[in-house]
Symmetry: C2
Subunit: 211 residues, 2 copies
C-alpha cells in the first residue's frame, strides 16, 4: 500500500469537489496549471497527487479527462462503497451531522444515534433512531458499524470512546475537544474547532499587525 | 513575530484543554514526559512548543507551573481578548455553531447571523438575531466584525465570501466544502469534513487490510 500523508489525503476531496463543479460548467478536461491557479496548490504537488491515484497520464496542452478523474477519486476515497457508522451525542453538533446531506455521497452511512438523555431516546433525527448509550455494547456489533462519531461533551468523550472500542468500533471521528487515549490499532481522526480557530486567529492578528 | 506552523498552532488548544483538566484534578505542575505520555506528542516537540510561547523554564523533576502555563496559553491564543464575528447560513451546522457554548471562552463573540431564507429572518438563535444577507454590507462595518463564519451551501460560498470581504471582513472561517478565491490579505481557514473523513477512511482501510 502506498503511503499518503495526511495533508495529501485532505486535498483529494477538494480536487473532487472542484472537478465536479467543472463538469457542471460543461468542461471535459483539466490541466495541472489550471488547477494550480484555481486551488492555489503548486503544479508539482497537483501532478504528484494525481499520479499517486491514477496511472493514466495527462495529454499535453489538454490535460486529464474530468469524468475519469472523478471516477478515480471517488473510487480512491471509498465513495462507491458504503461504510457504516453510529453517532454518539445528539446535541446541536450531533444533530447537525445527522442532518448533513452529503455523507451518503461520501460512502458514510450513519445508521443509528445514541444519547444518555432520556428525553431524546426513542426520537428519530433525520430518520435515525436515538438509543440509550447503555445499548452501544449490544447494538454496535449487530449494526456492523466500524466507525463511531463522537459528538459528546469533552468530559464524557474518553468514557464513550472506551465503550465503543469495547463494542468493536475500529475508528473514532472525534468532535469532542479532547485528546483520546486509545489502543494503537484504533484510528482516531479529530475535528477540533478550537485548533482551527487558533490558526485563524493567529493569522488574522499577523495580518492586522501589518497595518 | 515568531513563525508558527499550522500543526504547531493546532496543538496549543489541545495543551490548554489538557492542562485545565489537570488543574481540576488538583495537580499543580506538569512535566514534558508526562504530557508526552498522555497526549502522544514527542517530548522534544512539547518542549519546543512550550518554549515558543513561554520564557519561563521548567523546574527539573517537577516541570512547569500549571496555572502560569494556562495563563500564558490563554494569552497567546487570544482567549483574553474578544474578537467579533458574524455567521452566515443558519442551517443545521450554522445553528450548531451559534449554540456552541465554548466560543466565548476562546475569545470569539458571534454577534449576528445572516440568511437568505425569509422564514428565518428576524428569528433569534441562541440570542443572536438573523438578518437578511442583503444587510451584510451595511451591518458588518457597524458591528466591527473582522471574522465571517461561512456555513452556507457550497454553491453559495464564493458569492457570500466576496460580499463579506467587500463589507470589510478580514478573515473567513469556511465550513463550506469548497475552495474560496480571495485576495492574499484575507485569512481563510477551512473546516472541511470531507477532508477529515478522507483521512479517517484511508487509515481505517489500512488497519482493516492488516487482518
Amino acid at each position: 500500500m502506498k503511503a499518503f500523508s495526511k495533508n495529501q489525503l485532505q486535498r483529494y476531496p477538494v480536487y473532487l469537489k472542484f472537478f465536479k463543479t467543472l463538469i457542471e460548467e460543461g468542461k471535459k478536461d483539466v490541466s495541472s496549471p489550471f488547477i494550480a491557479r484555481e486551488l492555489g496548490y503548486s503544479e508539482e504537488q497537483i501532478r504528484k497527487d494525481l499520479q499517486a491515484v491514477s496511472s493514466e497520464p495527462g495529454v499535453p496542452k489538454k490535460g486529464r479527462d474530468l469524468r475519469r478523474l472523478i471516477e478515480t477519486l471517488e473510487e480512491f476515497l471509498g465513495y462507491r462503497d458504503s461504510t457504516t457508522a453510529v453517532l454518539i451525542g445528539t446535541g446541536h453538533l450531533g444533530r447537525a451531522l445527522l442532518n448533513y446531506p452529503n455523507f451518503a455521497d461520501m460512502g458514510l452511512e450513519i445508521v443509528a444515534a445514541f444519547d444518555n438523555d432520556p428525553t431524546v431516546i426513542g426520537e428519530k433525527i433525520a430518520g435515525r433512531e436515538v438509543f440509550p448509550v447503555e445499548r452501544i455494547e449490544n447494538l454496535l456489533p449487530r449494526l456492523n458499524a466500524h466507525i463511531a462519531i463522537l459528538t459528546v461533551p469533552a468530559s464524557a468523550a474518553q468514557e464513550v470512546a472506551s465503550s465503543v472500542i469495547e463494542a468493536g468500533a475500529r475508528a473514532i471521528w472525534n468532535f469532542a475537544p479532547v485528546h483520546l487515549n486509545v489502543p494503537t490499532s484504533i484510528v482516531v481522526e479529530n475535528v477540533n474547532l478550537a485548533s482551527s480557530l487558533a490558526v485563524l486567529s493567529h493569522r488574522l492578528n499577523a495580518e492586522l499587525n501589518k497595518e
